[in-house]
Symmetry: C2
Subunit: 574 residues, 2 copies
């Protein structure tokens, strides 16, 4: 396996052997270890000393189902801490098949041009970006790049938000239909923008493919794993049928659907924006109810959402986005939310950060609660780079600061997602303690608190939540290192054989004999590296806290965020 290292100061690239210290690491384990090793935690995230690394997972490029996630690592310009954000699309599998463990972008041009990095089996070259994609949205730019470099290339790209180095900017990855999948969180698009890389084009022509030490064992395990996924009620039924948006009605029922900037956990209009409504709408309009974000996905939680005229509007239309605009910003209109989602994908901003920020803007009185048209206008202003657009595109914390709002749902300056921590207490601990800043995916306690996956821990009580969040954060760090979609966790939490199948695949591929304990150790190692980076960047326990307004009661259960500081600090004792 190789590192491709691209220096944007010199525009030179080189191919290196993966240094011994990173041997056996992939995905998040590699990106986080690399960032800790090579990036000064005190550097300016948009300065020349930050780096960006793209890494497929341990199982990337193989026939293992759902193994196509691409990890992106850097120092986050949003949180100021370490960041791993991952996405689907076709890039990770191509990199893995080319034997590229990590694609590193470092340095910064002194000129003011934008560039494309072209990656082939022969190496990487830095080319001036075609003028017609500068300032352009991701949908259009991908088409231009497809035409120039061929339909089959993988593309990693930033939109206008990334070019403007806005801290809500994401990095997007082309999916099999040339639509958009995003490594959304933490503003990594701004880092790519600071390095003036508009896009990375991956042409895997001539790629040797992944070597599997024991192909027969691999195939057998992959089969067991696929069976596990397709037979579990969440990964085999709920997600394919309704997408992640199946959660709207579930969370509303549970009283954990944050409404009107986290003032309540339930509302009257939730079914208008629910997964059930969404599926029926898609079906009626001839869209795709189920769809995979990368080749080899058997869960297929994505969809093609069509507008009233039967035209493609968006895909990867997630619960968290729909919640943020639909419940938290009170926009009772799925079509408007879908249009907003398309625009955010196109402009290249994290739809969670941006949508939570829109509710903060409503809190500030900039636009009225529930006003879809004005919310869409705010999103368009991000793309246009108006001053107001730049505020919104800088995320919830900056927007709160610029407008003097104290009710700002962020941890480590990253917007809190779609599950009220007072009503789903396990995930609240994850928000508070993960090195990533508020992030449900970092330890998705919703699974066990609400979906009764991996057992059941009462969501409104504190008992057992510390262990739950801790164990899930460790497991997630490991899963994020495999290249597997995190949703496989729903299955493996309930199905020991499916979990074993993953280990069997890794062992078969690499000729190893890892055990479940090794997986746990890997997860711990990743988290320790990430916490270490953050500590050196200046983070302390005081950063592992939720905003004080969560001491208010949250209807309908009227529970509060009542963990003591000491209890919270237990999560990272391992």
């Amino acid at each position: 396996m190789k590192f491709y290292r691209v220096n944007m100061t010199t525009k030179q690239a080189k191919i290196e052997e993966v240094p011994q210290k990173f041997a056996g690491l992939a995905g998040r384990a590699l990106t986080s270890s690399f960032i800790l090793d090579e990036v000064d935690p005190k550097c300016h995230p948009l300065g020349p000393n930050n780096k960006l690394i793209f890494a497929p997972g341990l199982l990337g490029g193989t026939s293992c189902p759902n193994s196509g996630r691409l990890s992106v690592g850097s120092k986050s310009p949003l949180t100021g801490g370490i960041k791993e954000s991952n996405a689907g699309g076709t890039a990770a599998q191509k990199l893995a098949k080319m034997g590229i463990a990590g694609l590193i972008v470092e340095g910064m041009p002194e000129d003011d041009k934008y560039y494309v990095i072209k990656v082939t089996v022969d190496g990487a070259v830095v080319e001036e970006a075609p003028a017609e994609i500068i300032g352009k949205g991701n949908y259009e730019a991908i088409q231009v790049l497809n035409k120039k470099y061929g339909e089959k290339v993988g593309i990693i790209i930033i939109g206008p938000a990334g070019e403007m180095k806005l801290t809500a900017a994401n990095i997007s990855v082309k999916d099999p239909e040339s639509n958009i999948r995003s490594a959304g969180r933490g503003g990594l698009g701004a880092v790519m923008g600071s390095k003036k890389v508009k896009a990375i084009v991956i042409d895997d022509t001539g790629a040797p493919g992944v070597t599997i030490a024991n192909m027969e064992a691999f195939r057998e395990a992959a089969k067991r794993f696929a069976k596990g996924l397709t037979s579990h009620p969440v990964t085999g039924e709920g997600l394919p049928k309704f997408g992640t948006n199946v959660l709207v009605n579930i969370l509303n029922e549970a009283g954990g659907l944050p409404t009107k900037n986290f003032r309540a956990g339930r509302n009257e209009w939730a079914n208008n924006i629910s997964g059930e409504t969404m599926s029926a709408t898609i079906e009626a309009r001839g869209g795709k109810v189920t769809h995979g974000c990368h080749p080899g996905c058997v869960i297929r939680c994505s969809q093609h959402y069509y507008d009233k005229d039967g035209k493609y509007l968006t895909s990867g239309f997630e619960y968290e986005t729909i919640w943020a605009l639909g419940a938290n910003a009170c926009i009772n209109d799925l079509d408007a939310i879908a249009m907003a989602d398309r625009l955010m994908d196109d402009i290249g901003v994290d739809s969670i950060e941006t949508s939570v920020t829109i509710a903060v803007a409503m809190e500030a009185g900039i636009i009225p609660w529930g006003d879809a048209e004005k919310a869409i206008d705010l999103i368009k202003q991000i793309g246009e780079g108006t001053p107001l657009g730049r505020i919104i595109g800088s995320g919830a914390a900056v927007t709160g600061q610029a407008f003097g709002v104290s009710r700002v749902p962020v941890v480590k300056k990253q917007a809190i997602p779609a599950y009220d921590p007072r009503a789903v207490k396990g995930v609240g601990l994850t928000y508070a303690t993960t090195p990533m800043g508020a992030d449900h995916t970092a330890g998705y306690a919703v699974a066990t608190n609400i979906l009764k996956v991996g057992g059941f821990i009462e969501p409104l009580k504190k008992d057992g939540q510390v262990e739950l969040s801790r164990n899930l954060q460790i497991a997630t760090a490991a899963v994020d290192s495999t290249g597997l979609c995190l949703f496989v966790a729903f299955c493996i939490l309930d199905n020991a054989d499916a979990f074993q199948a993953i280990i069997d695949m890794i062992n078969a591929q690499y000729g190893l004999s890892l055990t479940a304990d090794d997986v746990t150790e890997l997860g711990k190692k990743v988290l320790r590296a990430e916490r270490k980076f953050n500590e050196l960047a200046g983070f302390t326990k005081a950063d592992d806290r939720l905003p004080e307004f969560f001491k208010e009661e949250c209807p309908p259960h009227n529970t509060t965020w009542d963990f003591t500081d000491d209890e919270i600090d237990e999560v990272y004792k391992f």
Copy 2:
């Protein structure tokens, strides 16, 4: 001595005895001890749990020269840490004469009105603010309040920026001519705005005055002290003649005048904006070259700067403001800078934070370098609350973030002032380590590095700077507790008898027998309290660092910021 405690939630006020734990504390010693004691370091600075305290110093309200400074304490919405900012004007002396050690404002109204707190010897009352001052600038609002409450009242006030809760907003204090003196730094105007207090009016009719235990000894010491001040070359000559702006030519000569967003330490146009030019201009136009910001000032470093038509434009026209616009933002026009200064005072924003931010805006390409007209337009936009105005009014760190600029001169998110830390290394250590965020006044090593006051330590070298910054920070914390203007330090650093005179006055006033060691202990105690608050708020050594771009060489000396982390961390070992 009493606390006046005003609860803005209930609109009720009460008078309390000063609790024993705060006995003997005044000024910064009181504000910082109080904030550590009563404010949750993790609270939102603009939420209901932050508090604001106004305190005269130990010598406030006496005949001691230059003892009229008012300390304002709170959790800073700009830095997130503790803040003491102080100003001249008439308020402190009135509070002291009324026996008020601390005026505390806590809570937050639930309604959306603005209020005036009226303070008399009988107590404080909360009144609805006159409609005609809401949204108005400080100059006009002070006139309205003078008319309503009488010309003689003391006034503490916020401008439109404070009402908007912008994090560059300051708190202003009426001076003897009803002009404006500001507790500029740290965004405390936003805290006052969050509590919906437009102004505090102090009517000291019937005030008993300050009790002096030994009046004869006090008078004798006060005389020695006055003599010391008027005979020292800095406080007796330089400051009265040229104001603080005497420093432009001195710093330019020394190569420490940061130019074009800290790209160099010297420029060709400095004399156009120098104190010498300023004094000549004022004289030619019939303004006042020398003037005191509060009764009893014998240094008189302020002035009345007149425009071309001989009309009053501004006073308290400081070197730091003139540097920030004139050298750092390359605006080669003293009249334009004076107009900008007037506008910043009127709108109620810190002129250092705002002017440094304007250079960051130039760095971002929002307006051209040196464009006075556009810079003034940006300041006006702050007052108008346009989105761009809100970005600028949120300070340099937010402006840098919103526009993707990595060259942002801040420490703890507060703008770095007028002395390049690579060319005046002692003050660089103060910027890095003071709990206040970048602040020259917290330990003004410029005195010994450049002005050869208190000895001489070579500014370009590291030797001796740690001890210098440490000792000055300790001494400053003590001076800020006396109510004395910090400029007395120029004198007492060179004149042991003048220093002793201060101690003698305190002893004579309170019937004590303090020594110089007690003063040092007080300074250390204050700094320890402030560091403790910041630690609980989440600050670490990693926050005691300058931005990485100071590793670049600074012409003309081509020195760099080369202190190691360990060396920097020595400053707070005492």
